[in-house]
């Protein structure tokens, strides 16, 4: 009988596997990141005003993150279903909660890289200026928001993976759920950027909201992921 390792070991192995896949295939750096960057440029075309761009930079940055996230989540489950690997994991009786945690961690790492890039783009293209405390706050916001996004993305991505007609379902299910993250992360980043004269200190309560979101969906995902991906 094949004895299963602890949840933690399995989750870390799954996360390491997903990161290795990204390192081998470079989809994030070669396709998703350029997409996110071009979205930021397109926003500049659409708004066509440097003052406004500076003011709304945080919102645009997080919108670009959410759109890119849809692609990354789908990619994360395409690699599972391409050769029946998720099926194989389930047949092997691997704990679905551990798979959820592992895939969420890997998704968080990828999203975080993407957000660093988007933050840099905002600074360069939109002329955002930050204090040292603001930079720290932006960093904390990204960490906490990414934790929530990674969990929700994996949870709903698992449901939307596989059978036909499900890919188009992902945005419909995912975007309403991440509304609190968009609101919270945008406000916190506004405080960090000082957009519209907001003080840095105004951002911390929003980070609290993001933390609550992350915790709720981390717990819910660990429980609900199994029944959702199971056939």
């Amino acid at each position: 009988m094949s004895s299963m390792k602890s949840r933690r070991t399995i989750a870390l192995a799954v996360a390491r596997k997903d990161v290795s896949i990204e390192l081998n295939s470079r989809i994030l750096t070669n396709q998703v990141a350029p997409f996110a960057a071009i979205v930021m440029v397109m926003f500049a075309f659409a708004l066509d005003n440097e003052g406004i761009l500076q003011r709304v930079a945080p919102g645009l940055m997080w919108l670009a993150t959410l759109f890119s996230m849809l692609i990354v989540v789908q990619r994360s489950f395409t690699v599972e279903s391409a050769d029946g690997a998720l099926d194989a994991l389930r047949v092997a009786g691997v704990d679905t909660g551990a798979i959820f945690v592992g895939k969420s961690l890997a998704l968080m790492v990828q999203l975080f890289v993407l957000e660093i890039l988007l933050l840099a783009t905002a600074v360069v293209l939109y002329g955002v200026e930050m204090t040292a405390v603001g930079l720290l706050e932006a960093f904390v916001t990204m960490v906490v928001a990414t934790a929530g996004l990674g969990c929700v993305g994996t949870l709903y991505g698992g449901l939307a993976a596989g059978a036909k007609g499900r890919e188009t379902l992902l945005p419909l299910l995912l975007l309403p759920v991440v509304a609190p993250v968009l609101i919270g992360a945008t406000r916190a980043t506004e405080a960090a950027f000082g957009s519209g004269g907001t003080a840095v200190s105004e951002g911390w309560p929003w980070i609290g909201l993001l933390a609550v979101f992350a915790v709720i969906f981390a717990v819910a995902g660990t429980v609900a992921f199994g029944p959702l991906v199971d056939e």
Binding site: L159, R166, L169, L172, V177, W206, L209, I216, A220
Partner: protein, 245 residues
């Protein structure tokens, strides 16, 4: 109506007649007998359909969550719970849509605009989209049990998600009190007859909801058992394949 036709029984027929009578009474009280509001004037008459429809939607989604929870928690999982959950959610979506439309008509009269980024409106819109998503999940292909398990989990996730969205939208709006439009939450002062009309509306819509759920849930049972019956035929055909070779 001939007996035993369709999804009706004598009980639902009596309930249906009651709902029709109540609806007529509601129209009379709401549109004719009740007075106009001091502040809002005649526009308050929209309230008698608007408030009961959002009320019904909340009841519907609560029922969906309860039935989904019961479905998942029972050892012997009965699809009947899942069908009631699905019927209830479908009707809930209908009533949220109704309340969004009547609400924006009301808003056009009182605030001069169809939509304001008020916390209640915004989170109601999210409620609507969330349950449209739930219904889409119900339509994914698979067996009845797969559908039931997936959609029950989705319904419980929605229960987690909705307060969170509501809370964050509230927080978002509390920082942006816009003085340019009238306060969307301005209290309507209700006199006795207006209160009665509103109460009548709530009762009528709730009974209407019960009637709709009963019928819809039975149609779903028929849909399910027809799919199963198709399976019996298919099984017989499948067995014959062996002899034909």
């Amino acid at each position: 109506m001939t007996p035993n036709s369709g999804t009706g029984t004598s009980a639902t027929r009596r309930l249906g007649v009651l709902v029709i009578v109540l609806a007529i009474a509601l129209a009379l009280f709401g549109l004719r007998f009740s007075a106009e509001d001091v502040v809002q004037g005649s526009t308050v008459r929209i309230m008698y359909v608007h408030v009961p429809s959002i009320w019904t939607a909340y009841i519907a989604f609560i029922l969906t969550a309860i039935c989904s929870g019961v479905y998942l928690s029972r050892r012997q999982r009965s699809l009947a719970w899942d069908r009631v959950a699905g019927a209830s959610a479908e009707i809930g979506v209908l009533f949220v849509a109704v309340s969004l439309v009547t609400g924006s008509l009301w808003g056009r009269l009182t605030w001069g605009t169809y939509w304001v980024w008020d916390a209640r409106l915004t989170s109601t819109a999210f409620l609507f989209i969330t349950y449209v998503g739930y219904l889409a999940v119900r339509r994914l292909d698979g067996t009845h049990r797969q559908r039931a398990r997936r959609s029950s989990v989705m319904a419980l996730l929605a229960i987690l998600e909705i307060p969170l969205v509501h809370f964050s939208v509230n927080l978002w709006r509390s920082l942006h009190q816009d003085a340019s439009v009238a306060d969307p939450n301005a209290k309507v002062k209700l006199d006795g007859l207006m209160l009665f009309s509103l109460f009548l509306g709530l009762v009528t819509f709730t009974l209407l909801f019960v009637w709709l759920v009963l019928h819809r849930q039975r149609t779903m049972l028929l849909e399910d058992s027809f799919a199963d019956r198709g399976l019996d035929v298919a099984i017989a055909e499948r067995r014959n394949e062996a002899g034909a070779q």
